[in-house]
C-alpha cells in the first residue's frame, strides 16, 4: 500500500514537473500583481474583482461537478451564506472594536459555508447522480424561503449593507480605494486556487475522481463513497463561502438573491462552458461568463437567451467545454493532422456563421416586434443596423439560415473526416487520443 501511494503522484515520476508547477503558479502571481499597473481605471479593477470572485466560485463548484461528478443546483446557498456572515462580521467588528482586519473576513465567510455544508451535506450526498441534484435544488429553495422569513439576519428583500473601511487598518490600508480591494481579492484568488489545485493532487482528490467514475469499485477498495462525496461537498462549501465573502467585501452588501437560483445557474453555466475535465477550465469559464454578461448586454437586449442557447450547444456538441475542446486537439497535433483539421474548421466556419447570423437577425427582428413594437423599425444589434419592418430582413434571415444549414452540414462532414483520419493515424502509432 505504501508503495502504491508513493509512486502514484505524477509530479515525482516526471522530472521537471515540479519546476513547471512553480513556473506556472509564479507566473499567475506576477500577472495578478501586475494587473493594476496595466489597467489603471477603477472600473476595470472592479471588473477584475468580480472576475476573481467568480473564479473562486466556479473552481469550488468544479470540486463537485468536475472532480466528484455531483451536479448541484444549489451551490449559491454556500456562496450566499458566506456573503451574509462576512457582512455581519464587518458590521460587528467596528461595533465591538475587535482587532480583526478586513483580509481575514473571507475566512469567516469560508467557515460559514463549510459549517452549512457540514450540516446539509450529510443527507444530500448520501446518493449521487440525479437524486443529489434534486435534493440540492430542494435545499436551495428552502434556503431562499428561509432567507425571506428570517429578516433579522438576511435583511428581507433589501439585504444587509456594510462599510468595509470602518474595520481596523491593515498596515495602513483601509480598503477604500478599489486597487486595495483588488489586491485583497487577488490574494484570496491565488491562495484559494492554489489550495483547490493542491486538493486535486491529494489522495482525497484522487478518490473523488474514482467515486465519480466508478463508486462500486471504490466501495470494494474499502472507501465509503458517501464519506468521500461528503468531504468534497464540505470543501466546495468552504471555498464557495470564501467567494461569497469576497463578493460581499466588493459590493459592501449581501442580498437574498446571492443564495438564489440565478446565482446557482450562473456558476453551472460558467463552470461547464469553461470545461470541467481540467483544472483551469472553470477559470476560463468564469472569465468568459463575466466578460459576456458585461459586454453582451451592450449589444443586445436578449443576451440571456443567447447565453442559454450557447450553453445548450456546448452540452450538445462540445461536452468538454472550452478547456476540454482545446485539450482534445493535442492528439491531432502530435500526429500532425492539426493543420488539416484547422483548415476544415475555417471552411465550416463560413456557413456556420451564416446560420448564426441569420438566426440572430430573425431573433432580433422578433424581439423588436414583441418588446418594442412601436419604436423606430430601424434597429441596431451587434453594431449592425437594419430595418425590422422590411420583408427583405425576413428574406435575408431565412436565406442565411437555409444556406448556412445545408452548406454547413456538408462542410462539417469534412471536419468529421479529418478527425477520423487523425484518429486512425493515432491508433496506428499507438498514441492515446
Amino acid at each position: 500500500m505504501t508503495e502504491l501511494v508513493s509512486s502514484a503522484p505524477m509530479s515525482r515520476a516526471v522530472p521537471g514537473a515540479r519546476l513547471r508547477f512553480y513556473a506556472a503558479w509564479g507566473m499567475v502571481a506576477v500577472l495578478l500583481a501586475a494587473f493594476p499597473s496595466i489597467f489603471t481605471s477603477a472600473s476595470s479593477l472592479t471588473t477584475f474583482s468580480l472576475v476573481g470572485t467568480a473564479i473562486i466560485f466556479a473552481l469550488s463548484y468544479n470540486i463537485l461537478l468536475g472532480q466528484t461528478g455531483l451536479l448541484s443546483f444549489g451551490h449559491a446557498v454556500y456562496y450566499g451564506i458566506g456573503a451574509f456572515f462576512a457582512v455581519h462580521t464587518m458590521n460587528l467588528i467596528p461595533q465591538y472594536g475587535l482587532p480583526v482586519p478586513l483580509p481575514l473576513v473571507p475566512l469567516i465567510g469560508g467557515v460559514a459555508g463549510l459549517l452549512l455544508a457540514i450540516l446539509t451535506g450529510w443527507i444530500s450526498t448520501r446518493r449521487a447522480g440525479t437524486v443529489f441534484s434534486m435534493i440540492s435544488l430542494g435545499v436551495a429553495e428552502l434556503a431562499v424561503a428561509l432567507a425571506l422569513i428570517l429578516t433579522d439576519f438576511f435583511g428581507g428583500e433589501d439585504g444587509i449593507s456594510t462599510n468595509r473601511t470602518k474595520l481596523p487598518a491593515w498596515f495602513g490600508w483601509h480598503f477604500g480605494p478599489q486597487v486595495q480591494v483588488y489586491y485583497l481579492v487577488a490574494f484570496w484568488v491565488f491562495v484559494s486556487a492554489l489550495a483547490m489545485y493542491a486538493l486535486t493532487r491529494t489522495p482525497l482528490g484522487k478518490i473523488c475522481n474514482a467515486v465519480r467514475d466508478n463508486p462500486e469499485r471504490v466501495q470494494f477498495v474499502g472507501y465509503d463513497p458517501h464519506i468521500v462525496r461528503y468531504l468534497a461537498f464540505c470543501f466546495a462549501g468552504l471555498f464557495a463561502g470564501i467567494a461569497g465573502a469576497l463578493a460581499a467585501i466588493s459590493f459592501e452588501s449581501a442580498n437574498f438573491t446571492d443564495l438564489g437560483w440565478v446565482k446557482s445557474g450562473a456558476v453551472i453555466f460558467s463552470t461547464y462552458i469553461g470545461g470541467t475535465s481540467i483544472f483551469a477550465g472553470p477559470i476560463v469559464g468564469a472569465i468568459f461568463f463575466v466578460y459576456l454578461s458585461l459586454s453582451l448586454s451592450d449589444y443586445t437586449s436578449v443576451w440571456q437567451l443567447y447565453f442559454g442557447l450557447l450553453f445548450i450547444l456546448v452540452v450538445r456538441y462540445a461536452p468538454g467545454g472550452i478547456g476540454g475542446t482545446l485539450l482534445m486537439h493535442r492528439m491531432p497535433f502530435r500526429v500532425g493532422g492539426l493543420g488539416r483539421i484547422l483548415r476544415t474548421y475555417a471552411i465550416a466556419a463560413v456557413p456556420t456563421l451564416m446560420l448564426v447570423g441569420g438566426f440572430v437577425l430573425a431573433v432580433e427582428t422578433i424581439v423588436h416586434h414583441t418588446v418594442n413594437a412601436n419604436e423606430d423599425p430601424r434597429i441596431k444589434a451587434f453594431g449592425v443596423s437594419f430595418d425590422a419592418s422590411s420583408p427583405m430582413t425576413w428574406i435575408v434571415a431565412g436565406l442565411l439560415m437555409l444556406i448556412g444549414y445545408f452548406v454547413g452540414r456538408l462542410t462539417w462532414r469534412g471536419v468529421t473526416r479529418a478527425w477520423d483520419d487523425a484518429r486512425t493515424i493515432a491508433s496506428e502509432r499507438g498514441i492515446p487520443s
Partner: protein
C-alpha cells in the same frame, strides 16, 4: 371554520390533481429514460402561454385541444433530436441540457409575452358559480378543471393497466433492456412517453393558467416542487406521485389559509427576551412558512424512508 376547511380541501385536491398531471409525466420519463427533465415545468408554462394565445385567437376550447398537442410534439422532437444523442454523454449532460432548455424556455416566454402576467381567462360559458357552500360561490370553471384532471387520471390508469402499449411502458419502467430484446421499439416508446408526459404538463398549464397566474416566472419555483413530489412519492411510482401530489396540494393550500403563529399561540415575546432571530421565528405565520413545508417534508422523507412513500427501490 368548517367553511374554510371544506373550501381549502376542495382547492387543495384540485391543486394536487394539477400537480399530479405534471408529476406523472416527470416520474414516468425519469424511470424509463433515466432523464430528470428539468424543463418539465417550462413545458407546463409553454402550455399555459400557448393556451392563452390560442384562446385569444380561436377560443378556449381550441386552446384546450391544440396547445397540449403542439407542446407535446415539441417535447417529442426534443427527445428525438437532442436528448437521445446526449444520452451517450451520461446523466449529468442530460440534466444539464434540460436545465439549459428550461432557462431558454423562460427567456423565450419573457421575450414573446413579457414579464408581466397575461390576461388569460377561462371560457365565458363556464363563467358562473356551480354551487355555493355556506357563503362561498364555487366557480364552475374549477369544477371543470376537476373533471378534466380526474378524466385524464382515469384514462392514464386504463391505458397503462389495460392496453398493450401500457404493458410495454410498464415493462420498460423496470426492464428496458429486456423489452428491447423482445423486439419492441423502445426508442419509439421513449419518444412517445416523453411527448405524452410533456403534453400532460402542457394540459395542466392550459387549464391552470386562468386560475393561477400565467407569468414568465411560473415554472422556476414549480420544478423544485415537482422534484419533491416524485422523491417523496418514490421515484417511478405513479401511485406514489398521486398521493404525494395530493399531500403537497393539501398542505400548501391549508397552510396558506392559516394565519397562526407562535406569537398568536403563546402570546407576544416578553420585551427582555433575546430579540435577534427569535423575533422572526416567533411572529412568522403559517401562511409565510407554507413555501418551506414541502422541502422540509423532502428532507424528512429522505432521512426516514429514502425510497419514498411508495417506492420499491432506494432513491
Amino acid at each position: 371554520m368548517l367553511e374554510l376547511v371544506i373550501i381549502s380541501a376542495l382547492n387543495g385536491v384540485l391543486y394536487g390533481l394539477l400537480l399530479f398531471l405534471m408529476a406523472s409525466g416527470l416520474t414516468v420519463v425519469f424511470s424509463m429514460l433515466g432523464v430528470l427533465n428539468f424543463a418539465h415545468a417550462g413545458f407546463y408554462m409553454l402550455g399555459a402561454f400557448f393556451g392563452f394565445q390560442i384562446s385569444k385567437w380561436f377560443g378556449f376550447w381550441w386552446a384546450l385541444l391544440l396547445a397540449p398537442i403542439i407542446v407535446g410534439l415539441i417535447g417529442a422532437a426534443v427527445e428525438r433530436f437532442a436528448l437521445r444523442d446526449i444520452h451517450r454523454s451520461g446523466h449529468v449532460a442530460e440534466l444539464l441540457f434540460t436545465f439549459g432548455l428550461a432557462y431558454v424556455i423562460e427567456e423565450v416566454v419573457q421575450i414573446v409575452w413579457g414579464k408581466d402576467p397575461v390576461d388569460y381567462r377561462g371560457p365565458p360559458s363556464l363563467d358562473f358559480p356551480a354551487f355555493s357552500i355556506f357563503s362561498t360561490n364555487y366557480p364552475s370553471y374549477k369544477v371543470f378543471m376537476f373533471a378534466i384532471s380526474v378524466a385524464i387520471f382515469v384514462a392514464l390508469l386504463i391505458v397503462i393497466k389495460r392496453s398493450r402499449i401500457g404493458l410495454v411502458v410498464q415493462a420498460s419502467l423496470t426492464h428496458p433492456q429486456m423489452v428491447a430484446h423482445l423486439g419492441h421499439n423502445v426508442g419509439l416508446v421513449f419518444t412517445l412517453v416523453f411527448g405524452v408526459g410533456i403534453g400532460l404538463a402542457a394540459l395542466a398549464g392550459v387549464i391552470a393558467g386562468p386560475i393561477l397566474q400565467t407569468q414568465s416566472n411560473m415554472a422556476a419555483s414549480l420544478i423544485a416542487l415537482l422534484f419533491v413530489i416524485i422523491v417523496v412519492g418514490g421515484l417511478g411510482s405513479l401511485a406514489g406521485a398521486f398521493v404525494a401530489s395530493l399531500l403537497i396540494g393539501l398542505i400548501q393550500t391549508f397552510a396558506v389559509s392559516l394565519d397562526g403563529s407562535l406569537a398568536s399561540l403563546f402570546g407576544p415575546l416578553s420585551p427582555d427576551a433575546p430579540q435577534f432571530l427569535i423575533r422572526n421565528i416567533w411572529t412568522v405565520t403559517i401562511a409565510q412558512v407554507a413555501p418551506i413545508i414541502p422541502y422540509a417534508l423532502l428532507i424528512l422523507v429522505l432521512i426516514l424512508r429514502p425510497m419514498g412513500l411508495f417506492g420499491t427501490r432506494e432513491t
